[in-house]
Amino acid sequence: MDILFKVLIDPFLQMGAMPDLFVQTIWDGFVTGVLYALIALGFVLIFKASGVFNFAQGIMVVFAGLTLVGLYEMGLPAPLALLVTLGVMFVLALAIERVVLRPLVNQPDIILFMATFGITYFLIGLGELIFGGNPKQMITDQLFLPRGAIEVKMLGGFVQFQKIDIAAAVIAVVMIVALAVFFQKTRIGRALRAVADSHKAALSVGISLNQIWVIVWFTAGIVALVTGIMWGARSDVSFGLQVIALKALPVLILGGFTSVPGAIVGGLIIGIGEKLGEFYWGPLVGGGIESWLAYCIALGFLLFRPQGLFGDKIIERI
């Protein structure tokens, strides 16, 4: 009975007893969730347009962040470094389309998936070769990102909001809205959705698959850069960061591999769930559940709703 009380009732009593801590935990989870959502968004973009699960999205985040900081350290002013990094991500998209995707067109998905492993290790090597393997400090101030915290008195205590977290949330929301508008309302967005729906039909109306793939990978590169900046600002920019790509997996399973809103909602559920779990239930098993709770949630979803919350239900005619 004691254990049941500790699992089922006590955490909620704690939440009620100290609502300020509860709000703080939710906020921390929300910010982490936004960043997860950004990573998952990069995956969804590429998966929708080309059916490839891009394992390299994690390293693209690191690579974009490293390039930005590396260029700044080489003496470029921060805004210029940002522009050049965007250029680098575009060249990367071009190169991936030309060297990896085009020769492998019409190959089974698993082949393309393995090819993204290749891209991952290539980028790790290239990044270390150019920028070295040491963690770097993100150039937060130079990019005019705010520092410090706002303390708000509420619910009989103080809740701390890091300014960088607020900025991250705002930028993520702006980017998601911009992407949504771009996808829904423009000719290129329409072409992207067309390719995602049917390659054959897209070709017949004159949409060039090669061009679309470059655009999609470049967009994923931009998302990676933003994620790299935001995540880098909270810790360091290092190759260790690429494991956050693995955190995108449960987010995608939860939200569905083909859904942009799914990536966002999935990211938030995982982010907030993790923090709440760690804070209120973690002590029961000696802490550290943050690192695996997400996968357990995803496992539960796989059992009952394998297509995710918003994913397309795949029905095949046999």
């Binding site: 423009t186 000719r187 290129i188 329409r190 959705r193 729906d197 039909a201 070709l203 017949s204 949409i207």
Partner: protein
Amino acid sequence: MTRESIQKGEVLLAVDQVSLSFGGVKAITDVSFDIRKGEIRAIIGPNGAGKTSMLNVINGFYHPQQGKITFKGQTRSKMRPSVAAAQGIARTFQNVALFKGMSTLDNIMSGRTLKMHSNFFWQCLRHGPAMDEEIRHREFVEDIIDFLEIQAIRKVPVGKLPYGLQKRVELGRALAMEPDLLLLDEPMAGMNLEEKEDMSRFIIDVNTQYGTTIALIEHDMGVVMDLSDRVVVLEYGRKLADGTPDEVKADQNVIDAYLGVAH
């Protein structure tokens, strides 16, 4: 462009001794025929005769091992689908290939892809030249929607539409490309009599009102003989007969192929 240089009745597309095989399977063997500007040309034949393969060769999905194709005076042996589309070849598919998640309007708008040129920057802003362009093309698309009488389903995701209407939307998307040559792969497959009559009317109207040259594959012989100016018959990848509907109907080889012969 050579767009206006070809007069009605002149050869728009010529297929010259084209052969296509997949490994050891010969889909098309040494087939030649032509399509003249302004006509409705039917390609008929039993199942597996290579009709769809022929359309796929013409719009660049398949690359023939032998033979040449001359379109608007330009001779080539293969080309990419996006280039074929840019040169004015539009098509529909046997099993309806629409963008199922998108609305009727967006599907037809996607046919305007090659006609829209505003740059990326303006598109992202949805302002200035991009907005003007969107409006101009939207007007064109609305005309097509009126023409095909599908006003009521403008905003419906096409995946939810009945099959007959999907075929109509697919025709609309092809028309939005303002093609010089329209390829229709079984435009009436799976339709009831009334839908077939509607579709026949649209095909004739497209041909007479816009002067679009049409090549179509169809199994309903009544429809084929009524609609088309000339018919080419394929069997086992070879050309069996070529001529006006009456000539083809009277051809002994064609009768044998369709009815079978006692050996």
